[in-house]
Subunit: 386 residues, 2 copies
Amino acid sequence: MSPLFTINQSDNNTSARSGVLHTDHGDIPTPCFMPVGTYGAIKTQSSEEISNLPSPILLSNTYHLYLRPGIEVLKKAGGLHSFMNWQDAILTDSGGFQIFSLEGFRKVTEDGVTFRSHLDGSEHHFTPEKIVDIQRIIGSDFIMMLDVCPSGDADHQTWIKALSTTTNWAKRCMKQYKETEPIYGHKQVLIPVVQGGTDKELRKQSALELCKLEADAYAIGGLAVGEPKPEMLETVEWMDEFLPKNKPRYLMGVGTPADLVRNVKRGMDMFDCVMPTRNARNGQLFTFDGKINIRNSKYKSDFSLIDKNDISPMSETYTKAYLHHLFKTEEILGYRIATQHNLRFYIHLMKTMQDEIQKGNFATWAKEFIVQYSHERISNKSNNKF
Amino acid sequence: MSPLFTINQSDNNTSARSGVLHTDHGDIPTPCFMPVGTYGAIKTQSSEEISNLPSPILLSNTYHLYLRPGIEVLKKAGGLHSFMNWQDAILTDSGGFQIFSLEGFRKVTEDGVTFRSHLDGSEHHFTPEKIVDIQRIIGSDFIMMLDVCPSGDADHQTWIKALSTTTNWAKRCMKQYKETEPIYGHKQVLIPVVQGGTDKELRKQSALELCKLEADAYAIGGLAVGEPKPEMLETVEWMDEFLPKNKPRYLMGVGTPADLVRNVKRGMDMFDCVMPTRNARNGQLFTFDGKINIRNSKYKSDFSLIDKNDISPMSETYTKAYLHHLFKTEEILGYRIATQHNLRFYIHLMKTMQDEIQKGNFATWAKEFIVQYSHERISNKSNNKF
């Protein structure tokens, strides 16, 4: 069986590495960013448009797909790849984070979690085993385990209990994963999720327990949920020691362009975030000179191209003035242009990082990028810290 | 100066004809349908997607563009073609119909019409001259005159007065048109609008008066606004006699696929309607077997392609079940797929009519199409009537 992950180059000055994820739906250069298609569609974009990106892997959500279109439809369709006409790789989040973010009724026991649908209030029960079974039906190339996600302000005791449950669920997910087979013939990889908030001891304990499962990849969950940024970065840095160097590491839900760079530096390989797509629909564009909001009246008569830096076809076709007009008149084309631009900016950023790691220039490049991009520094005594 | 309109084939059995509109932005085969881009964008579609249609001409709206982005922006942009990156022909409606449909304040005098913006209540005044000037700045290939559009239930006296004003305004539009030049170097054609509701004498009088202006094309306005369908068709049929045979006739705001066929039969060459785009966003798709609503639960597990008849790339890529899911989850991609499908269905229908007229088979084809398409017949004693 071919390995899941090849590291081509490890950076000498940081924990960054460039490599390739080998899936039955194609190779994905890392570090990589996964656009979010919660319901099996990247908002405003067609499958073909996303597939034409240089790193075609998308993230969808087990909880949401389970509710709509439902598992029966996905089973009849032959999985999500076929349903959405997508030939490339898919990672599905378990939906644990979404279920634990729901307002209203939710009950966790050792067996699993009972919750009400946010759509119609109907009651459902997920177990670690069921979450694996559903993702077998979805046909995800990467299956995420079901984890317990306490809120950011939970007390220490809650965190300890949550972590214990998460660890037990991880074992049950792995057991179910090993006892079942892919339905559609392509390889599926189970990813356990390290939890523990920003508590270093809990994180260490979680990582050590999950490493015993000998999974092919590991994820860090429960960060970028509101904790101070230095604590997030310290936690990721701390995890570098306890997660296997030779396996891909997926930092869930991150993040801003600067945070992608900061966490690649800390040895992370895979990322996902709604930021490029969601912010696009609010008129916020990412550029190599920083963020701009196209709704700003200063763009009303700005007939320069949206972006000249070879980021996206639409950004090189339309002017800022036209995009401003489309947002003012709430034309869907505006959301399309902005989404295409932001996603391609993110993918371009990942490609740049891959290249800079290959060239051995990552640390230098990264420092410059963060200064130029965000004019934002994280308060730290060391000048080498970014 | 090359002629605006060439008729290639006149049908022996009906008033239908196929021809070509020659514009400085390309030739447009007729009969033709113009997708509606009120604010300089076809809803959900990019300029490139529309430009790739076989009859690339779009309709925009003077009143709406005047309010947003405003004439100053369009002037600085070098016109609407440049603003929206559109290389093909544009027809702009004057906005008369929109102004006369506004709720609230509106005052018509012989000089022009004063109205309040539907956006912010600000007061504006349009004259026939100003409407020409604005469309010079927009750079429309086809300029529509400002007309008075009484509501469908207006009394006879109101209609007579409205028609008299419309005729005077047409003369002033033509004078202004002749005394001004295109700003961007390409030819612009002024189109007067015949009014008169469904009153044959008023329609005749309007047509005869406007014909004296020797315009290059004529439009029929004030139909498809709620009058009974047989009256609409009779009015169009009546106009055939009074409008020059050798000039293009534009039937404004029409219509359903069956009504396009019925009015091509009656000698009409140009059409526009929001139906294919608006209905698409409500989930209604036009097919050669009639209309379907993709929101219907029977499509939940229908994994057949949206349309196999070579109508649109997206219809041949995605299944009905996926499109149903996209509508249920309100994904913008669903609106894009449905809009692309409907617009291409309309364009395909126009192309089919062009071909059937060329082959001398239009009457036979049209009767079959209407029976198959709509299962709808207009009550009439003659079997030849459709």
